[in-house]
């Protein structure tokens, strides 16, 4: 089974802190994604990566950055956490190519106080 693992299930951070959310996948997928999910807004794409050291902005990249130094690991960085970044964060991975399915992690619920 494909496994996408997010490093934390729950996190509480203070405003202004630098926050790292880590995601690891074990199926040698080229693509990796970070989403945030908020009530009434569905899943919104923050960033995605289609190869090591490659990244593309999604729909809401402001306030976030990403790092992909190894194929299996994709990190989301909140440079200076703010309360409006309190959300559920979901990582996903998929193979490159036509019509491939994405596999999701369990999510990290981040609260910024």
């Amino acid at each position: 089974d494909v496994k996408v693992t997010q490093s934390s299930r729950y996190l509480v951070k203070r405003t202004g802190e630098k926050v790292f959310l880590e995601c690891v996948q074990d199926m040698d997928h080229e693509n990796m994604f970070w989403y945030r999910q908020d009530p009434g807004l569905g899943l919104r794409l923050i960033y995605f990566s289609y190869d090591v050291k490659m990244k593309e902005k999604g729909d809401i990249p402001e306030g976030y950055s990403v790092s992909r130094e190894k194929k299996e690991r994709f990190s989301l960085i909140l440079e200076s956490a703010s309360t409006n970044q309190t959300s559920m964060y979901l990582c996903a991975s998929s193979l490159r190519g036509v019509g491939t399915e994405a596999f999701f992690g369990q999510g990290t619920r981040l609260t910024v106080v």
Binding site: G42, Y50, A92, R96, G99, G107
Partner: protein, 113 residues
Amino acid sequence: LAKTTQPISMDSYEGQEVNITCSHNNIATNDYITWYQQFPSQGPRFIIQGYKTKVTNEVASLFIPADRKSSTLSLPRVSLSDTAVYYCLVGDLPRGGYQKVTFGTGTKLQVIP
């Protein structure tokens, strides 16, 4: 990127067939149509994917008319465990072969005993 429109919520009794329709008027030639299911506090899970006509697997059927401007997810004989949010999405396949997967707000299906 093709946008999707689907009902915000639906109710159904146990044992009934449920059809959820998604509108995607500006779907591109290369776009696949994919449906995901999400339970509370979990990441989305792939259900079914198609390009045209009808696709069936052990979980659901997907009907896509010839113009591909809409699609219908059909869940046969739903049970309480099918209560979830269902997302319809279409893929973006730019040159280079990677796929950006963008979700909408989904349809919240409530199955009633």
